[in-house]
């Protein structure tokens, strides 16, 4: 367990900013308690200071997980976000997509979102923008990346892909052993 280096922090923030933009500030600087990002076995954990201090007494081999896993660094040095961070990025999301009940299951099985399944979209979402995907009852289901801007979507066919799948809460079952 160690703090992120400058390069790592930059890659991490660049990915995170695609979804929540400058709202990363609210993660770094919280009113209630000091939180920090820690790297452990290539994974980035968002953890409170008190928990982190306790975790220092656990050996590196014995420590499996701590705090909230935000994602992991791939071997090529890119950052991949995990669905476990959904609770945090859903709070500060800038662009949202709501999907109809008939589109929930396909998305939760890891498929992209097609136009027919879309219920509502944040106005003026640009192309290739990170978006949070909600059910119509405002439950966050995962996140993805828009294939087209909102205005371009109107002209598309109902079967065309509008949002590329990145992560969904179905992964809690599908990838439960590698997720945390």
């Amino acid at each position: 367990m160690r703090p992120l280096t400058e390069v790592e922090t930059k890659t991490f923030f660049e990915k995170l900013a695609k979804y929540i933009g400058r709202n990363i500030t609210h993660l770094i600087d919280r009113g209630d308690e000091t939180y920090c990002f820690r790297l452990h076995r290539d994974r980035v954990y968002y953890v409170s200071e008190s928990v982190m201090r306790k975790a220092t007494s656990i050996g590196r081999d014995q420590l499996i997980s701590l705090g909230i896993c935000f994602g992991k660094f791939t071997k090529t040095g890119k950052f991949r976000m995990h669905v476990t961070c959904l609770d945090y990025i859903a709070q500060y999301a800038k662009h949202k997509v709501w999907i109809k009940p008939n589109g929930e299951m396909p998305f939760l099985y890891g498929n992209h979102v097609v136009k027919a399944h879309i219920g509502r979209v944040t106005e003026d979402t640009p192309e290739h923008q990170g978006v949070i995907i909600y059910s119509m009852t405002d439950i966050p289901l995962g996140f993805g990346v828009t294939a087209r801007s909102t205005s371009d979507t109107r002209k598309m066919e109902p079967t065309a892909i509008v949002v590329f799948h990145q992560a969904d809460i179905g992964e809690y079952l599908r990838q439960e052993d590698t997720l945390f």
Partner: protein, 297 residues
């Protein structure tokens, strides 16, 4: 007709070419077209009107320089009249430090101690037998160390069946090898001596030959390490060799896990500023604004 009045009027339009009031004479380096005025600056005049004073000072000094140039010897050709500039006298400081004296070879040291000087030898030597000039060494040299003799007497007490030509060739080769070895030793010692304390060298201390070997080893090791990192994967996927060198002293440094959190927070904030931009996203959503104005029309 009297033109003195006209001339006088013409002269009045220009300032005098003679400059007075220089307490210390101005120094010139005409080779560089430079004049050095060492007279102190008139503080009062400078305070009163800076620009005017500086301009007049410049004008006077330039005038003096031109006066000096006009006194030089001139030549005239198609391009006009030209003054012959003397060689510059101003000395510029040397850019690089003086080169260090080369470490002496063993022979040079010995020759110095014995007072043996260098003698200039001619490249070509007259050969009595051939009756012509031949080079002292090299191709078609006069001194072939007897390897080219057409007949050789067998020395007394030696094996009559031994090839005397081969013996001479071997002896020559041995001498060359020996000299080569000494040359290499001189180079090694010189390499160490350049890194040795100058005082020790002046005292005449011999370079430590173990040190030579150690230095060579170190150099070789560093070269091996460089070559190891010169593959496509920067050495990452190379097959490990038993007893291979491990790079020393390259350690990654990470910030301590538990430290001053305010500092970490500030660091993160500054990175965030760089990633997102100081003011965050644009305050005005341009796309939205355009749409709004369009719909109003």
């Amino acid at each position: 007709m009297d033109v003195s009045g006209v001339l006088e009027a013409h002269k009045q339009k220009f300032k005098s070419v003679s400059v007075e009031g220089k307490v210390i004479p101005v120094e010139y380096d005409l080779g560089l077209l430079a004049a050095y005025d060492q007279n102190p600056v008139d503080e009062a005049a400078l305070k009163k009107n800076k620009d005017e004073y500086l301009q007049s000072l410049c004008r006077d000094n330039a005038q003096l320089l031109f006066n000096e140039i006009f006194q030089l010897q001139t030549i005239s050709d198609d391009n006009g009249v030209m003054a012959m500039l003397p060689v510059p006298t101003t000395l510029l400081p040397r850019e690089k430090p003086l080169p260090k004296p080369k470490p002496e070879t063993r022979w040079e040291k010995f020759a110095k101690a014995k007072g043996i000087g260098k003698r200039k030898k001619d490249r070509m030597v007259y050969g009595d037998a051939s009756g012509e000039y031949k080079p002292r060494w090299g191709y078609k040299a006069i001194n072939d160390d007897g390897t080219k003799d057409w007949i050789i007497e067998v020395p007394a007490g030696s094996n009559p069946m031994e090839d005397q030509y081969e013996a001479r060739r071997d002896a020559k080769k041995e001498r060359i090898d020996k000299n080569e070895k000494r040359h290499r030793r001189n180079l090694d010692e010189a390499a160490v001596a350049t890194k040795m304390d100058q005082k020790a060298v002046d005292k005449g201390d011999r370079p430590d030959m173990d040190n030579v070997r150690g230095m060579k080893r170190k150099e070789l090791e560093s070269q091996i390490l460089i070559s190891k990192g010169s593959t496509a994967s920067a050495g990452k996927f190379d097959n490990a060799i038993k007893g291979d060198l491990k790079p020393k002293g390259i350690k990654r440094q990470f910030a301590p896990t538990v430290a001053d959190f305010s500092k970490e927070k500030a660091g993160n904030m500054s990175i965030l500023d760089r990633v997102v931009g100081k003011n965050g996203e644009d305050l005005v959503n341009v796309r939205k604004a355009i749409k709004a104005t369009k719909s109003r029309r």
